[in-house]
Symmetry: C2
Subunit: 345 residues, 2 copies
DNA sequence: CTGAAAGCGCTTACAG
DNA sequence: CTGAAAGCGCTTACAG
């Protein structure tokens, strides 16, 4: 549903020309007084400013950008704003963007279908750049992203390398390995991995590092379960799948905290398991809920601030560069020990 | 820090004129084939389209909007994206905006100071409209909002009536009253209200309705505490303030769920209180955590979808109208009973 | 249905 | 330092 816009507004927008008339100067003069660093004499600047406040004039940024061939608009495309980690990421991103004199245009697409429809539209808008946090983006869409001229960087998960997209993420692979070491050191033996949705374009290095280290250590093979989505409820369902039989794992590494929390709650409340004695649960992200009283979740914390700062610095360089090349930036994660893994003996 | 933009990009943007040349038609023709409902013969449309895909042409929406005198850009200004309710609101808002063919420009300002700096900037950007969810916005800023020509609607909380701003919110006053009735019916006697930050421009009708009904019923006067911010930690601190002495309340109504959850956790874990037997806790919003296992929080649910749909429908009408008048829309809240208030006897 | 022209509001070489 | 002019990429009366 698109509304019609009625152009008969009574008050016409006051324009630079109006100010020029009022101040008795040329349009160029008023433009100059509003572009930092341009050369205007204090006298004319003063007259312009005076006229401008009198008329309530403000330069029209959109029009400005059409002349300058860039709009200082960068998009943020997100598929799961319901996940607190992404909400925090968007917050940091828009702050960092503001500091770089960009504005953040937010696009939300919850399903692969919406993603498929929306991406071409976004590209059409010809933003200066696009930041993507949508691990469930279909491959075809990633291809159109790779083919476009507008700089794109993925955040939160590395894009599969063959895609040729820039990304900034946490070193998931290394963190996955470290989680195994922690678990083994604390005496757990039957490890399991709970992955999120398939994530056509996002790598799966969290689980891979985990599995790799398990193999190196010649531990019994891990059980893999995969949640259909990253939600509290899905975490609970995974617990049902994993904990229902006798040979259940004694430690599970979850792809993210919301899954972990859902898992934890049914492990305790439906199966009466004692965490961390009967079962260890470790998450990923360190969302606020992880440190709340009932959870005290041991998890790997992503360096959110650094990652988001990096992401906008990367995209801002790509925007400024004449021939941007895809880059990937990996920042180290850090295990935060709380109460869902046994303490050292 | 502002990055320089290097304009020497090798590939020039392909423009409508390029397509016109390639197709052997006028620029008007290509413009027409890209504006729905314009009159072009199938033949020329076809040639244009063919040339367009060959060259990879896409109309430049920003330039388009300068001619059309509106950009289809509406801002969302938010001060607490860390609160899940606001995150969900932004999600719905951006979806609804997309459906109305608007784009959402996101602004984040965590402090009154940032708000004060950012609002004039936003207005300068001359967006078509602005949606504000920032109860902690200083009064002066609200005044500049009221004085501007760009349509503005506040969401989530009603703006104080004297401000002359449009808003859509839940009927907080009524819900506050209903919470008292519920609590009294279930046998609680010493009621308390835990408010959030002062909120210079947001009304305080949640607490007022609550207090009003308490007076009507001639119950003992309520205790009022006010958290410095809406956070889990602040909720915990409020519990310390309220539960430390003998004459503690036996029911507390919290301004929102994140406060309520923080309160609940320290009430149980630090004070060993049995909720709901020793103490009732009711929240506001119905964020996802409210229905999680450890909480099962009784809370008043705001009709999020309806509110956000209403908000964008309101602003889109104001954008379309030649003389928009401030309107306020109140939707009913609904108490969701879970486990933090005793069941009926 | 179609094109030539003028315009959106602003900026930026170009002369002076 | 300043103005007249041309331009950003697109659209929309105006004629035909």
């Amino acid at each position: 549903m698109v509304d019609m816009v009625d152009d008969d507004k009574l008050e016409r927008r006051v324009t630079g020309a109006d100010v020029a008339n009022a101040a008795g100067v040329s349009p160029s003069a008023v433009s100059r007084t509003f572009t930092p660093g341009a050369s205007v004499s204090p006298a004319t600047r003063d007259r312009v400013l005076r006229a401008a406040v009198a008329l309530g004039y403000r330069p029209h940024f959109i029009a400005r950008s059409s002349r300058e061939r860039h709009g200082n608009l960068v998009g943020i495309l997100i598929s799961d704003l319901g996940n607190p980690w992404y909400a925090m990421a968007v917050q940091r991103l828009s702050q960092a963007l503001q500091e770089h004199a960009f504005h953040a245009v937010l696009f939300d697409a919850n399903t692969p279908d919406m993603l498929t429809r929306i991406v071409p539209l976004i590209l059409q808008y010809q933003l200066d750049g696009l930041l993507i946090g949508a691990p469930d983006m279909p491959l075809i869409v990633a291809d159109v992203c790779a083919g476009t001229a507008t700089p794109i960087v993925m955040f939160g998960r590395l894009s599969k390398p063959e895609l040729g997209l820039s990304s900034v993420a946490c070193d998931d692979h290394q963190s996955g390995r470290e989680v195994v070491d922690l678990l083994v050191e604390r005496g757990y033996q039957r490890l399991a991995y709970l992955g999120g949705e398939a994530g056509p374009i996002a790598d799966t290095r969290r689980g891979e590092g985990f599995a790799e280290r398990v193999r190196e250590l010649r531990l019994p093979p891990i059980t893999n379960v995969s949640a259909s989505e990253s939600s509290y409820a899905a975490g609970g369902r995974a617990a049902d799948a994993l904990l229902g039989h006798a040979q259940r794992p004694d430690a599970v590494f979850c792809q993210n905290d919301v899954l972990a929390i859902g898992f934890l709650d049914v492990a305790r409340n439906r199966y009466g398991l004692n965490v961390p004695d009967d079962l260890a649960v470790v998450g990923f992200d360190d969302i606020p809920a992880a440190s709340q009283f009932p959870y005290q979740l041991t998890t790997v914390q992503q360096p959110l601030d650094a990652m988001m700062t990096e992401a906008v610095s990367l995209i801002s360089h790509q925007i400024a560069s004449s021939a941007p090349v895809p880059e990937t930036r990996l920042l180290p994660g850090r295990i935060i020990e709380r109460q869902t893994v046994r303490s050292p003996v």
